[in-house]
């Protein structure tokens, strides 16, 4: 599978690594949508499993990795796509390709403050409007006391 991915993606992927558990495609945010489309339409990764992010605060130049997991249903094949971005950069939304990305991207926005361009409803999902900061960032103290929201 990994050689197929390499071949089909070609220039679109910066790198394709054989991970512990699945092939990992490293790409840029400009190429992200094209990569996902090729994986979906030509290689048959037909369902979205997960979207999340990793904060490398103070450990790397580009602060965040946005991590996508796709899966080919009825087969053991999975693929991971990683995009490195700086704080404040926007990533294109996957909603036009996978409707299921909607809530997942909202959660990433909620927890990391990464905005997705072209998302139909870029609002917080688990926390309330007006929550100070984004809790899964590494510079957010894990026992921070946060005032409770006003009644809606």
């Amino acid at each position: 599978m990994i050689s197929q991915i390499r071949e089909k993606l070609g220039e679109l992927a910066t790198d394709v690594i054989e991970g512990i558990d699945m092939p990992t495609v490293i790409t840029t945010k400009e190429n992200l949508l094209k990569v996902i489309e090729v994986l979906k339409n030509e290689l048959g990764f037909n369902t979205i499993t997960d979207i999340t992010a990793v904060d490398w605060y103070g450990r790397r130049d580009k602060r965040f990795d946005v991590v996508y997991h796709l899966r080919k249903v009825q087969s053991p094949h999975r693929v991971r796509i990683k995009v490195a971005i700086d704080d404040g950069e926007k990533v294109p939304s996957l909603v036009p390709i996978f409707e299921g990305a909607n809530w997942l991207e909202r959660e990433v926005f909620d927890m990391f403050g990464i905005e997705f361009e072209g998302h139909p409803n870029m609002k917080r999902i688990l926390l309330w409007e007006g929550f100070p900061g984004h809790p899964l960032r590494k510079d957010f103290f894990w026992r921070e006391e946060v005032p409770l929201p006003e009644n809606e």
């Binding site: 991970g19 512990i20 558990d21 699945m22 037909n46 369902t47 979205i48 499993t49 997960d50 999340t52 990793v54 904060d55 991590v67 997991h69 249903v73 009825q74 087969s75 053991p76 999975r78 991971r80 996978f98 409707e99 299921g100 990305a101 909607n102 809530w103 997942l104 959660e107 927890m111 999902i125 688990l126 926390l127 309330w128 809790p135 899964l136 957010f140 894990w142």
Partner: protein, 399 residues
């Protein structure tokens, strides 16, 4: 169902269903826009039960993280443990190298968990639709499962039975026979009873057939898993697709529906219970002898007796208790087929004793998203059926 058009001189009403509504299975709030009795738009508001599990666990050791996983989908704690230990075991490079007895015990307890979760799912679903008897009979069986699990793990719920590298303890004497007896009885007597009560019940059929239809393309597009996607006729199950643990050694079927409606999903869950019983019976028949924990003192503490008498074992013991398991740097995604769908953990390790990033891929959260797509066009009363059919646990949705 076709979209509802606004007729003249009518006004839409906004109705909040929940967060404290008995039929929302927890604290889910649905913001409904209604045209008379018909739903025009449905927006789910979640997060009432958000406890920040992912953030908290980044400050806990790998072993402490285990108890947080129990409290996600608290109806099926053992499969949650399983998904988590699977991700960690992948990082440690011991996935698939565990003692076989441990794998078999994992399969048995995991399947018991699946049955008890489906019992709650199906039982409360029909309870919401007005069937009281089914619920009572189903919950009696669930209580028996909990008794069995209590005997094995010490607790009814939140068992935390799994360990990184195996399971906590071997089954007590006679436990396997008791499970076999229960499984046999459930298969031959109680499951058919439950089916008799509900499968052809005209009220139930009327309220579930053709309600909340999810076409297969939509299911894939939304990333649905578990009975939600199987109800739409897509035969996918991680136990067959990427047979983890020892599932390749058992003979079982993956039930699927045809129409993708609420009735089909209910039937998929009912049939899955029977298949789980089949797996449990086979596992008990083939049960191998041996250890239940991996023989590696960097991961599992040595026996207490050795820790008192041998200095090297004492050091291992001390390091494991004071610091915890050190996991090599890297990233891994481990998933199992939980009762609700694919439960996955994506763990990034920086080589220390705490996970650098701990991501839960919650099936309920992703399945719940579909309600915004399938609810428009239905009556308010059908929303109750839809919440039941998605089978959410808010502990997992909100994490």
């Amino acid at each position: 169902m076709e979209a509802v058009s606004k007729t003249e001189n009518t006004q839409y009403i906004e109705l909040n269903m929940g967060p404290h509504h008995p039929a929302t299975h927890g604290v889910l709030r649905l913001k409904l826009t209604l045209d008379g009795e018909r739903v025009v738009r449905c927006e789910a508001r979640i997060g009432y039960l958000h406890r920040g599990t992912e953030k908290t666990v980044e400050h806990k050791s790998y072993h402490q993280a285990l108890i947080y996983t129990d409290r996600l989908d608290y109806l099926s704690p053992l499969t949650n443990n399983w998904a988590y230990v699977r991700a960690v075991e992948k990082l440690l490079g011991i996935d698939g190298k565990l003692p076989r007895r441990a794998e078999y015990l994992r399969v048995i307890t995991g399947e018991l968990s699946r049955i008890s979760s489906h019992i709650v799912g199906a039982g409360t679903h029909v309870l919401d639709l007005g069937a009281w008897t089914f619920f009572l009979h189903a919950f009696r069986e669930r209580e028996k499962i909990y008794d069995l699990l209590e005997e094995l793990t010490g607790q009814r719920m939140n068992n935390t039975y799994f360990r990184i590298g195996g399971v906590a303890a071997d089954a007590p004497d006679g436990w396997l026979e008791k499970v076999y007896k229960w499984a046999d009885e459930f298969e031959k007597k109680h499951h058919p009873e439950l089916m008799d009560l509900i499968a052809a019940n005209p009220i139930f059929v009327e309220r579930t057939k053709g309600i909340g239809v999810i076409p297969p393309e939509m299911a894939l597009n939304l990333g649905l898993t578990g009975p939600m996607i199987r109800g739409s006729g897509i035969k996918t199950d991680l136990r067959k697709d990427e047979p983890y643990s020892v599932y390749s050694e058992f003979d079982f079927e993956i039930p699927t529906g045809k129409n993708g409606d609420t009735y089909d999903r209910f039937m998929v869950r009912m049939e899955e219970m029977l298949q789980s019983v089949r797996i449990i019976k086979q596992a008990i028949e083939k049960m191998p002898e041996g250890d239940v924990l991996i023989d590696d003192y960097k991961i599992v503490p040595p026996p207490k007796r050795d820790a008192y008498t041998q200095i090297e074992k004492l050091i291992h013991h001390f390091k494991l208790v004071s610091e915890g398991v050190r996991v090599p740097p890297g990233e891994a995604y481990g998933a199992v087929e939980a009762p609700k769908g694919e439960l996955g953990f994506y763990i990034v390790s920086d080589g220390s004793a705490k996970p650098y990033r701990f991501r839960i891929r919650p099936p309920s959260f992703i399945n719940l998203q579909s309600i915004e797509h399938i609810a428009p066009g239905h009556l308010v009363a059908d929303i109750i059926a839809l919440i039941g059919t998605i089978d959410i646990v808010l502990g997992e949705v909100d994490r």
